[in-house]
């Protein structure tokens, strides 16, 4: 009983200290947390439920999240079923009326984004674990993130009207930065040859990144979304990479690397692995993350020139 008693005393000290006027914002993924934090700045405390190296489709619904959600003023999620396998029940059981679906404290940012890969035929899971409402990984595109930032700013202003001016100022600042990142990187990637701009992604999650940077998807390592690579499909990807002279593979850090590494070796290609989100805990901003991502990717794609001539 003594550790429990110790924790009890500790919490008696902690509870009054945490009572303050800052808006408590909870985000499902680090990129959202970083955007919310940039806009809310000193008026908000942002907690992120997942880490950048964690697959947001498969998160353990820890009961401790319920405690975090219980105290939230605003919950910001991606939506489109990205978090549905772990977050839904936690929201219901959070006992926080302010963050229930339909409340002002619940913001699903996919509602303001122009989505890609919205299925236009009847869907079925034989197609893999596809998202009925479209691809949810739109924060890999700063142009779409601008709408997201705007929605978050709007919601923060609704919840804390006194700080609306500050939120709008921060939004303007972030918006300008996003526009610069978006335009600069896009122009820079245009200098690559069409061959260099061909890529193979692990999962169908990179549509927005490719759309932003003008890259051409050749194949995915997964045969269908959420279905682990099979030998025959991997062989097909290898043949496709060879015939199309594709020398770059891309994937988020939370996907398995074995098949991609093998493909990179056999196809004389480079594998570029990047975090699934900003290192929010480490203080990285969303803009920094995008810069790092596009910079790293540009170097890998540019270097594939040497690989091509070496063929």
């Amino acid at each position: 009983m003594s550790p429990i008693a110790r924790i009890l005393t500790l919490c008696l000290l902690v509870v009054p200290a945490t009572a303050q006027a800052k808006l408590q914002v909870v985000a499902s993924v680090p990129d959202l947390a970083a955007i919310a934090s940039a806009i809310g700045s000193e008026h908000v405390d942002v907690v992120c439920l997942t880490s950048p190296n964690q697959d947001p489709h498969y998160v353990d619904p820890r009961p401790s999240f319920m405690v975090t959600l219980n105290r939230a003023d605003l919950l910001v999620v991606i939506g489109l079923d990205l978090e549905s396998s772990w977050l839904g029940r936690l929201i219901t059981n959070s006992r926080n009326p302010e963050i229930q679906v339909g409340s002002n404290g619940y913001l699903e940012v996919s509602s303001v984004v122009e989505r890609l890969q919205v299925p236009n035929t009847p869907i079925d899971r034989a197609m893999g674990d596809i998202h009925a409402g479209g691809n949810p990984h739109f924060l890999l595109d700063p142009r779409r993130a601008r709408s997201v930032a705007q929605a978050i700013a709007g919601r923060l202003a609704l919840l804390a009207p006194n700080h609306a001016k500050d939120f709008n100022a921060k939004l303007e600042q972030l918006d300008r930065q996003l526009l610069i990142v978006a335009t600069e990187a896009r122009e820079r990637f245009q200098t690559l040859t069409p061959g260099q701009r061909q890529v193979v992604a692990y999962h169908q999650s990179l549509a927005y990144l490719l759309d932003w940077l003008g890259l051409t998807p050749i194949a995915t390592v997964e045969p269908r979304p959420g279905i682990a690579p099979s030998p025959s499909h991997t062989a097909l990807v290898l043949r496709t990479m060879r015939s199309t002279k594709t020398h770059t593979l891309l994937q988020e850090s939370y996907y398995q690397r074995g098949p991609s590494e093998t493909l990179a070796r056999l196809a004389n290609a480079r594998l570029y692995v990047f975090p699934g989100g900003a290192d929010f805990e480490g203080g990285e901003s969303y803009v920094e993350r995008l810069r790092k991502l596009s910079q790293g990717l540009f170097e890998v794609l540019g270097a594939s020139n040497a690989a091509v001539s070496g063929d």
Binding site: I7, S51, S85, V112, N120, G134, A151, A157
Partner: protein
Amino acid sequence: MNSASLSAPLLLLVGAFAPSLATAGREVSTSSTTATRTSTTPLVPPAPELTEQELRAIEESTLGEPPPASADSGVVQGLSRALQSMNPAMSFILDVAAGYFTIDTPDQRGAHDPSRTGFTFQQLELSVNANVDPFFRFDANLVFGEFGVEIEEAYASTLRLPGNFQLRAGQFLTRFGRINGTHPHQWSFMDQPLVNAKFFGGEGSRGLALEVSWLAPLPWYLELVASSGNPTGDCCARSFLGDAEIPLTGPEDLLYTLALEQFIPFDPSWSLSVGLSSQLGPNNTGPGNRSVIHGADLYLRYRPVDSTERAALSWQTEVMFRSRQVPGDLLQDLGLYSQLVWNLSLRWELGLRYEFVTGVAEDPLDLDWDAERQRYAAQVTFYPSHFSRVRAQVNHDYPRYAEAYWAFLVNLEVLVGAHGAHQF
């Protein structure tokens, strides 16, 4: 049926779609000017001190160029919105098994256990849920089994009670320990733990009840759950009134359950859940005679957050103690199970389980289980995707009161429809 009666519903259907399709068409024209306008929620809800013009000015100065939207995406998004409906989220989960037992009449106790040599239809579960309104959520699990349909669960939960309280009312599985509140398709092994079957019944503790739970305002997760329900049913309240037809006369005849759950996250990868539960209610051996079940549970989990293989290791144990008042005597027994489940990769899982349940000699309330029983189980699971799994399990069962036997089982589980939320 003539053609006129057929065409009437068709016309209705077209009528229902026409306005939404028209809306979709309108959205195409606006989406080319501002992509963000296609949203259904207001983007910047006006703060009190801002006028419409000010807002417009801010919007213009901050929006800049919209992302180039492909011409047809507006149509498609409009279409998907037209197909939106108020239907609840629904899914079907099918569990079928085949088995070989080394004796003719194996003593499998769970209502959905593979129970004989040959094939067993374990269950087809229809899970339905949705928010009712801003105040209630509805959940139901209807189970189609070999012997018909049962309403396993159908209940409403509150969403907006003050003071960190939540109420559940209807028919539901009692929150007692870790296994009892969950459904067979959430289990690693394909049969119910023996102690749950012996103390609660083949369906687990479940029934018509009212539950109030409270999330303590502490820095960590601590939840108190209290419920009260009918102490009846051989499936679900074996230690209490069971299938005895004894009318209830007042609140003292109800079944009461109290549980305390805590969760301690050591770090993003390691965590521990611990719980204590108790259930108290009348039994069928005479007026005033009661039974009580106390349980303790533990769940230690290691899941490296950044594992690219979704690897995890978890150890789960439940211990229960039961005491029943009978005329001139007090019958006491206990049981436990302990299981280790190792998720090796995206596709493979291994599990080991040990069970031990004592029996009361010549137990008048449990004549066919009056001695100790141990069972060992090992399982291996293959996951073709997140929505299907194939399991193989071997049991070695030692009931002291009957012949020991082996069981070799395989199971297929598939899920279609909405992906329900997992439980920790």
